[in-house]
Amino acid sequence: MENSHWLYAGTTILVLVIIAALFAPVLAPHDPARQDLEQDLLTYSRSHPLGTDKLGRDILSRTIYGSRVSLSVGIATVTLSLAIGLAIGSLSGYAGGWVDQLLMRLVDVLLAFPGILLAIAFAAVLGPGLHHVVIALCLIGWTGYARLVRGEILALREREFVQAAQALGCKPHRVVARHLLPNLLPPLLIQATFGLAAAIIAEGSLSFLGLGVEPPTPSWGAMLNEGRQFLLVAPHLTAYPGLAIMITVLGLNLLGDALQDRLEPRRR
């Protein structure tokens, strides 16, 4: 019974965020890039209920539009990482032997390499921008999924139904697709929800290091970073995007938890 509460709460939050992202132009009262230097750092006003930032831009509008960027970075990163991880992990787990060894060493190397430095270096090479952020985050991100997939495949490979399928002459990729993947879905999905939350935060950290979305694109991470210097004089600059991140991460984790409880009541 309690599980459903979490599930509903998490889903509701996410749906709200997605609605904000999809309908931003309708929901936002102002153009998020419109500046008004005379009206900077307002805490509250009738036309700016959440106040304005240093350039006089409406924080409510920027927070709403920010959901677009944060969500798209998160979804793109997770999707890409998942795809790569799935491909490499299943190849590794299914093929075994030296292919497996080689790929897993590659995973080790990438994991041993400090991820955030790779992101910095990459961003320096590629330059700033949203898609570059995604690429940089994916570079390390896929390894977790690959390991997961490989582990699951190794465990499942020995199970009877797989061996039966193989005995019947099913091609490997068909075995993977039809028999192994459905078992993989729950843990992958759960990882993905957590990964999404992590990606949203990581985007903020990249903004701190000076790499991230380009101005004047509003993203929650970038807003947090821009407002950081004003923590003492105008805390509302960071409070609202911070709250947005927290609520979204909360929703994602609630969903992930509920899915975990529901889809895998007893693991191994």
């Binding site: 230097l37 240093k54 350039l55 320096a124 700033p128 101005p215 821009e226 004003f230 004089v233």
Partner: protein
């Protein structure tokens, strides 16, 4: 083990030794040997550790320091009488041999000193006497005296040394005590300084990379002195929450927009002038910089002896900008609608304030129909891009402008990278001629006349679009007495500063 030892005092910790002044800086000084120092923090710390033959005063005039007097015996020769009884921090006496050694080690190509190209005109340094030294140039080079402000180090017995092996002792009012890499640099007062001993017991330069944390440390009392590199909006907060003393003084740091003159649209002078007219400098200064800058007409600020104020000022006039753009052949396709006349990119580093200013500029240029694409980069990539001409517009600042000969480096056609800083590839034969004349003429009045013309040409042609001269802002603990700000941010007056009514 490590935590248990936490009670011990680590060197360079935020403990505040009595009599010491703590200055907050934003990055680690890269190189303290004055013969190799290029970054601002290193240069400023060096000014306290080392003496030089001449030193610029707070009006940017060169005054004798280690020299008791100096003269030009002809257009290419300078002779210095040195002070006697000056000792280096290791006890050794300073003589003409040390001066010769310092300059020869910079000229030696094996040492790869960044100062070497600046000394290109120097032919020889001769020791005439224990306390007399002569500099002979190969050609008359009016800007050369600026090179007499390099710190003097003691001669080594073996001549050649590995650069950066050890920081040589100086003869200045403070000596280097300890360096905690990444944390702090501690200087101690020189008890046998040849001028009066510094009232301070010492100075600690504390490295605090984050601007807000620097302000918090100041509030807490663990930093006593801050100069520049602060978020402008933090200053009213500091004013309200501490009893600090604030000072804003005119400075020489020049913020500008560099233009790529090979760009098909930007090579058009009217376009550049239109951009200059479209910028509301006063608004940005008032709101984003909280008043801590002055709108600029060119590189040289009014403090400078060669300053020419009688040049086009390009004050905010968006209507005229639009007319110029129309005239230049770039009409606005839909009037007040969203379509721009053209798009250009604007590159900047990724500091928060720079990004904010870029965004304000983008908005201002949008109002006259120019769409700016802001591209931010970390410093290394940014610098590399502008050196390679890979930009349309970029924003940067020149710090520490002293001799107007710097125009040669910026705008002479021979100074196109990698041989100089003419990053926009500006080429004007008349300007070339004037700049060459300016460095050959040693008569001050004649030089000024030359540079007056130079400034007029540049203000009309706008290879750089001037933005503003940044004011130097200092935040000082109320106990500090006697600090005199210098236009280029030099901290040399710390040698006369004292702390009064200080609570330990």
């Amino acid at each position: 083990m490590i935590l248990l030892s936490g009670g011990c005092r680590f060197p360079g910790s935020s403990d505040h030794p009595p009599g010491y002044l703590v200055v907050g800086i934003e990055s680690n000084p890269l190189e303290l040997d004055p013969r190799y120092a290029t970054d601002a923090n290193s240069v400023r710390i060096d000014a306290l550790i080392y003496n030089s033959l001449l030193r610029a005063d707070d009006r940017l005039r060169l005054r004798p320091e280690l020299a008791s007097e100096w003269k030009m015996t002809d257009e290419r020769t300078y002779v210095f009488e040195l002070r006697q009884h000056v000792k280096f921090h290791n006890g050794k006496a300073m003589t003409a041999r040390d001066v010769k050694y310092t300059y020869e080690s910079m000229l030696d190509p094996r040492n790869h000193s960044p100062k070497r190209p600046l000394l290109k005109a120097l032919e020889a340094v001769d020791v005439l006497d224990t306390y007399r030294v002569r500099f002979r140039l190969s050609v008359p080079h009016a800007p050369f005296p600026e090179q007499f402000t390099i710190g003097i180090v003691p001669a080594r017995s073996n001549g050649m040394e590995t650069p950066g092996a050890e920081i040589p002792p100086g003869s200045g009012p403070f000596m280097l005590d300890t360096i905690d890499p990444g944390e702090s640099i501690t200087l101690k007062a020189n008890p046998s300084y040849w001028e009066e001993k510094a009232p301070l017991a010492g100075i600690i330069f504390k490295v605090v990379p984050d601007a807000m944390v620097r302000a918090l440390e100041f509030k807490k009392g663990t930093i006593d002195f801050l100069q520049n590199d602060l978020e402008p909006d933090m200053l009213p907060w500091l004013k309200k929450h501490t009893d600090a003393e604030f000072d804003a003084h005119e400075g020489t740091t020049f913020q500008y927009i560099g233009v790529n003159l090979n760009h098909p649209i930007l090579k058009n002078r009217e376009v550049r002038q239109a951009i200059a007219l479209a910028i509301d400098r006063a608004s940005i200064i008032r709101h984003l910089l909280k008043g801590f800058a002055t709108p600029a007409s060119g590189l040289l600020s009014p403090i400078h002896w060669a300053y020419n104020g009688a040049v086009p000022q390009w004050s905010f006039n968006p209507e005229k900008a639009k007319r110029l753009l129309d005239h230049a052949g770039y009409p606005d396709p839909d009037g007040p609608g969203p379509l721009p006349r053209f798009r250009i990119s604007f590159k900047t580093t990724n500091l928060d304030l720079r990004k904010r200013i870029a965004e304000a500029l983008k908005e201002q240029l949008a109002r006259v129909g120019i769409e700016l694409e802001i591209r931010t980069y970390e410093w290394g990539t940014f610098y590399s891009d502008i050196k390679n001409g890979n930009f349309h517009l970029y924003s940067l600042a020149w710090v520490g402008v002293m001799d107007p000969d710097i125009y040669y480096q910026m705008f002479h056609s021979a100074s196109i990278p990698p041989n100089g800083d003419n990053r926009g590839h500006y080429s004007n034969p008349e300007l070339d001629r004037l700049l060459e004349q300016g460095r050959r003429t040693t008569d001050a009045a004649a030089r000024k006349a030359v540079y007056v013309q130079v400034q007029r040409i540049l203000a009309d042609e706008l290879p750089y679009i001037p933005l503003w001269w940044v004011k130097n802002v200092t935040v000082q603990n109320a106990a500090i007495k006697g600090f005199v700000p210098y236009p280029d941010g030099d901290l040399i007056s710390l040698k006369k500063v004292s702390l009064q009514n200080r609570l330990p």
